[in-house]
Structures are given as structure tokens and as C-alpha cells.
């Protein structure tokens, strides 16, 4: 596996860890942040951050992988 792909997969695993596997720990009301109960705040924050992780993955792939041929 190319180095860029490895970094990208690492970054791509973040939404799965935070938005799936850490949900049991986030399943509570307090503290209320920015008017949102904690569970909803947690979910909205990580959905909002996902594009930034994917952007980083995209840039790292560009930097470390051979350019892909589309023909």
C-alpha cells in the first residue's frame, strides 16, 4: 500500500471512531454546549469536521502517492 493511502485511511477512520464507536460515551445530555445537548453537539461537531479530515487525506494522497492514471 502506498504511503499516502495509509495516511488517508488513518484519517478516514476518524469519523467511524467518533461517530460510531464513541457514541455510547457521548450518549448524555450534560454539558449543554452552544445551546445543544452534549450528544447532539458531539454529532454535529464531528460531522462538521469530517470534510477537513477528508481534505487532509486528499492532500496527503496527492503528496505521497504516484499520480493516478484515468486514461
Amino acid at each position: 500500500m502506498q504511503r499516502g493511502t495509509k495516511y488517508a485511511l488513518l484519517l478516514g477512520s476518524v469519523p467511524f471512531i467518533t461517530l460510531v464507536f464513541l457514541l455510547p460515551a457521548a450518549n448524555r445530555i450534560e454539558p449543554v454546549i452552544l445551546g445543544l445537548p452534549f450528544l447532539l453537539f458531539w454529532i454535529v461537531s464531528w460531522v462538521f469536521l469530517t470534510p477537513f479530515f477528508l481534505l487532509a487525506a486528499y492532500l496527503l494522497e496527492k503528496k505521497y502517492n504516484r499520480p493516478e492514471e484515468d486514461e
Binding site: 485511511l9 469519523p15 461517530l19 450518549n27 445530555i29 445551546g35 447532539l40 469530517t50 477528508l54 484515468d70
Partner: protein, 473 residues
Amino acid sequence: MSPALAIILAFVVASSLLGVLAGRRVKMNLEMWTVGGRRFGIVLIWFLMAGEIYTTFTFLGASGWAYSRGAPTFYILIYGALAYTISFFLLPAVWRLGKRHGLHTQPDFFIHRYGSRSLGVFVALVGVAFIIPYLQLQLTGLGLIVHEASNRAVSAETGIVVSFFLTCLFVYTSGIRGAAWVSGLKNVMMIVAVLVVGFGVPHIYFGGIGPMFRALLREHPEYLVFPGATTGMDVLWVMSTLLLTGAGFYMWPHTFASVFSAKSSDTIKRNAVIMPFYQLPILLVFIVGFTALLVMPGLKNGDLSFLALVNKSYPSWFMGFVGAAGAVTAMVPASVLVLFASTLLAKNVYQTGFNPGAGAERVVWLSRFMVPVIMVLALVFALYLPNALVNLLLIGYDGVTQFFPGVVLGLLWKRMSAAAAWGGLATGLGLVALLVLGGHDPLWGLNAGFVALGANLVVTGLIAVSGAGRKRA
């Protein structure tokens, strides 16, 4: 004619005309009709995919679930973000294969990868069987919205028939390009409607979103954590549902095939990067559902809470605009669904199954001919047999997700064989039908479709490793 009705009609007709215009000066061959000549850049791809994904029931359903079930509705906000992350890694490979071998549909992928025409026909038939009830659902939702938003001046049936005719028209003339153009207008209307209502109603009744949540915490604190107002949808159900729907998102025949419309694999990647932002408006849809719960409790059908609250809070012309946005939001997915149901039947059932010698021209002719046929079928179900396909609808998402192992392992794993794909698919689909229709969903607190996907993966893996059904080289 009331202002609300005039607004609905104007927007619906204008968007359909836009769809027809999209196909002007383009020669409609199979390549153009189904995959837009593989020329869509980032904007058109975004229009198309956002258009397919945000269906009427994202909105009626997300607010309805917030209203009647509470926290379990949050999964609707999350699963898209997971699906786009998967798509970032998965879809460029699908696209490259499609480009290199001229694939147009999901069954094309299976036929190419596994060298099995019968598998292709089977995948096509399963796809069509899940598309038609989904199409029916769009038509029913559209009828409901037009009926409510016109202040009951238009019957649901009239709304369905008129928009059905217009949708057929622009699919027939412009194919996938028409859907993408209409979706551009649809996205703008929908975002305006959601922003206005989502920020507006909590402000009108509580002075803001924060105070609305404080009121909700006083009255229904259980709504804000899993399992909300339900008993079966606890955190384990949410987690398994997220993994299932995240994997299944691009396994619908129409979402899968839209990938082929992109002009490069880079377009697909960049689209995957920006798409999660588009999930965020769903938060506002939840907020509308929660506000409705506090302001107008006791509605019989929670799915109507969005429309009921708009009706109570805004002048009728704005209700008309929301109705127009809702109607076009149903027409775009309906157009893509009917397009791919037709193409699956023409290309992968007729051509692959019965007449491999048929030329591309004949296939595109038959595809276009099938558009009104499929639409009439969905129309008949929507108007006269509303409950006939309800079982297929119930298992739709769980069902299409069973394609996931065949697609992903097919791309990654040399040992994957047609026998393994057949075995896994049959196991997965069989279990889904057995569990969901037998009333065993959730099973052990897990989404039953997820259990079936697990069994599917195990069976697929075992057959592939055993090498059964492999041709000796």
C-alpha cells in the same frame, strides 16, 4: 388560483422546463442518457448526488422521527458523513473500472468483474424490485406535500399525476443531465426553505434555538439521548444502523451508477470531501421537528409535523414555496430512480439476459420507452395499491446493502468469485427478508440488516477461500 398553488405550479413547471432544456443540442445515445457522456465536473456531480440523496423523506422523515422518536433520528445526520468517507476510498476505483470498460450500471459492474451474465440479470432484477417501491414512496410524499401546501386546493392524486408527467418528460428528453440540472434548482430551493424554517420556528416560539432546547430538556429530556422515545432503538441499534446505512448508501443502483457520470476519479474524490457539509442542514430539520413537538403536541402523523408547523407559523405563499421545494425534492430522486430502473431492465435484463446481440441504439430506445412504463407502474401502486409494496420498501435499504461485499471484495480481492458473490447475496437477502418481515428487527438490539450483512460477509469469504466454483486456469 391561490398564491400558494400558483407558486407551486410555477416552480414545478419551471424546473421541469430546465430539465428539458438540459438535453438540448445533445445527441442522446446510451452513453449520454445514462452517464451524461462521463463529462460531469464537480458542480454537476454535486447537484446529481445531493439531488438523489436528499429525498422528500429525508425531510418529512427526519423531522417526523425527531417529533415522534427523538434521538434515534440523529442517525440521519451521521450516516451520510460515513458514506462519503467510504466513497472517498471506494468510488474512484469503481469509476476507473467503469471508464476503462464502458460500464453504465451496477449490474454491468458485476457482469464485468465476475464474468457471469446470470449474476448480472439477478442484480438488475433485485435492483428494480427495490427501486419501484422507493419511487412509489416519492410519488406518495409528493402528493401529500402538494395537497397540504396548496391548502388542500389540489388533491394528492392530481399533484402526483401532473408531476409524474413532467418528470417523465425531462427524463425522456435529457436523461441523467436533466436530473442534474433540475437538482441544481432544487438544492437552492430546499436550502432556502430549511434555513428559513429551521432558524425561524424556534425563534418565533422560543426566541432562539438554545431556549427551544432548554424547553425540550424541561419537558422531554428523554428525547435527547438514545433510545429517545423508543424502546428498541438504543445506542447499539444506532451504531449498527450507521454501519449498515453508511455501507449501503452507494449500493442503490442509481447512486452507484451516478459515479460513472463524473469526468475523472479526482472529481469523485473532491465531491466526497465536500459532501459532509451538506449533511449539516439536517440539524435544522431536527430542530423543526422538536419545535413542533413542543408547540403542537399530539399530531397523529409525525411525518406531517414539518408541514403542519410551517402552516401554523407562516403566510400561505411561503407554505406554497415550501410545497414547491418539497415537490421538486421528490421529482429529482424520482427521475433518477425511473431512469435507472429503465436502464437496468433494458440493458441488463433484456440485452444481457435475452438478446446479447442487441445494439446500443436499441437499448437506449428501449430504456427511454420504459420510462413512462415504470412511472405508470409506480403511479398505479401509489394511487390504487398503496400497501402492496410496503414489504419491499421496508427491506429496501437493508436489501441493497447486501451488494456491498460483492462490490468491495470484488475490487480488493483476487480470490472473489461469482460463486462467492452469489452465495453471499442470497444469504444476505434471504436473512433480511426472514428477519425484517418476520418481525425480528431489531435483533439482539442490532439492526437486522446489519446482522444479515455480517452473515453475507462470512458466507462470501468462506466460498471465496474454499475456491468453490472457480474455473481452473
